[in-house]
């Protein structure tokens, strides 16, 4: 059973629809005891970094998620903001992240200002990905895969081996990250047609 962590933000409905569509079984919950029992976890989310981290702490989910992911090796997939929450920190806010993957979440605006790049923010588009390493999540993804992105902050990995996919918006950034059983994707696989279906179905089969 896949448990989708409910932070009262964002369109969890689409994630549920996609999992059902590829034949997976899931439930949506923010109940610590339910999350403890999960065999797989998805951390979705849109909205702000601080707000999501505060929600995780208020609902007493932070420690449970860290324990599940690090010690019990439960497969965990962070989507969009959910991926950013896996990192150490974000320039969007003050709160510490979950720190499950050694990476930082940085601001496109700041980077664009420094590098004098003229791109609109948010990065809201279908974009290509380059798979940096083959694993169970990326296996058999189509060569021409494209995914739907909406974000104003991007992830930079401290260690190259945590970078699973790269995309380009003004410059290259990590569009997916990995560490053992922990995965994060910046794009929305639940809104990316057959390309997203393949990725979600890979996660369901893990």
């Amino acid at each position: 059973m896949i448990t989708i962590i409910d932070l009262n933000i964002g369109n969890i409905g689409s994630v549920v629809n996609m999992i059902k569509h590829v034949g997976g079984i899931c439930k949506v919950s923010s109940d610590p005891s339910e999350i403890k029992k999960a065999s797989k976890l998805i951390l979705p989310g849109v909205g702000s970094f601080d707000r999501a981290m505060k929600q995780l702490r208020e609902k007493q989910l932070e420690d449970i998620i860290v324990e599940k992911a690090k010690i019990q090796k439960t497969p965990l997939l962070g989507i969009c903001l959910g991926m950013q929450l896996l990192t150490n920190s974000s320039e969007e806010g003050e709160e510490k992240g979950l720190g499950l993957i050694n990476a930082e979440t940085l601001s496109f605006k700041k980077a664009f200002d420094e590098k004098e790049i003229m791109e609109r923010i948010p990065h809201m588009a279908w974009n290509d990905i380059r798979v940096e390493q083959e694993n169970d999540l990326t296996k058999n993804l189509m060569e021409s895969s494209r995914f739907y992105f909406v974000h104003s902050y991007y992830v930079k990995c401290s260690i190259k081996k945590n970078c699973l996919m790269t995309s380009n918006y003004g410059f290259d950034f990590a569009s997916a990250i990995v560490k053992n059983n922990i995965y994060g994707v910046q794009f929305h696989p639940e809104k990316s047609h057959k390309y997203g279906k393949k990725l979600i179905s890979n996660f369901v089969k893990l």
Partner: protein
């Protein structure tokens, strides 16, 4: 490579889809769910649904229908029509839509866009303006499905929508809508230069050439109506999508 989005824009009237010309003469296209299912199979970039009756008839968005639509779609979805408050916007996002489109609601409730942006994030709210060109070539904004002329200048209003928190601006030319005559390039160019968030151009697309031309104006997306629901100008209904 970042791809510019081509977005079918579908008009809801009750449970049916219709297509208008200059916001008038709605003509029947088909059943909403079936049509949306076809666009999902075409793997379109995104889909916009506008309920053109909700505001004028003072009804709520048809949440049941939207729920059915969301369950058929694996692409980004935006909905506009009759959204008056934050609770309605939240409900639509929870159903599985990515974005809500605020047009009339922004004139009557000044901080509606701000409330939605603060709660759900800027990327969830599209500020939309319907613009008519007068005989003398001046531009005016209209609310309530093109029925009510507003006092504010469109260029000022577009900037205002951005500063209120809209993460995207949708510009619809009432004068071009449903005519197949191409986008109002002057209008779209001027607004696009003034805002920093992504822009969706809408109204008048009749060919791929029209879309290419509007993409040269640095817009991020083109919304298309007639082109994807009719076989050709003056011809019968044919749901289609050629890239």
């Amino acid at each position: 490579m970042v791809r510019k989005r081509i977005i079918p824009c579908l008009l809801l009237q009750n449970e049916s889809l219709v297509k208008t010309t200059r916001f008038k003469k709605p003509s029947y296209i088909g059943d909403a769910i079936n049509t949306v299912r076809i666009f999902n199979e075409f793997e379109v970039d995104e889909l916009i649904l506008l309920d053109i009756k909700a505001t004028t008839s003072k009804t709520e968005p048809n949440f049941e229908l939207l729920k059915d639509i969301a369950s058929e779609c694996f692409m980004p979805l935006a909905y506009g029509g009759g959204i008056k408050n934050l609770a309605q916007a939240k409900k639509i996002i929870e159903i599985g839509f990515e974005k809500v489109i605020i047009n009339s609601g922004a004139y009557s409730c000044n901080d509606l866009i701000t409330q939605i942006a603060n709660e759900l994030g800027n990327q969830c709210v599209i500020g939309s303006l319907d613009v008519k060109k007068s005989f003398l070539g001046n531009y005016f904004v209209y609310s309530n499905s093109g029925n009510q002329k507003e006092k504010i200048n469109p260029f000022q209003w577009a900037k205002e929508l951005e500063s209120l928190g809209a993460g995207e601006i949708m510009i619809t030319s009432i004068t071009q809508e449903g005519t197949w005559n191409g986008f109002d390039m002057g209008l779209i160019e001027k607004i696009t230069k003034q805002v920093n968030v992504p822009v969706i151009a809408h109204g008048g697309a009749g060919s791929n050439k029209d879309i290419e031309e509007v993409f040269n104006l640095n817009v991020n997306a083109a919304a298309v109506g007639s082109m994807v629901v009719y076989q050709n100008k003056g011809m019968g209904v044919l749901i289609n999508f050629k890239k």
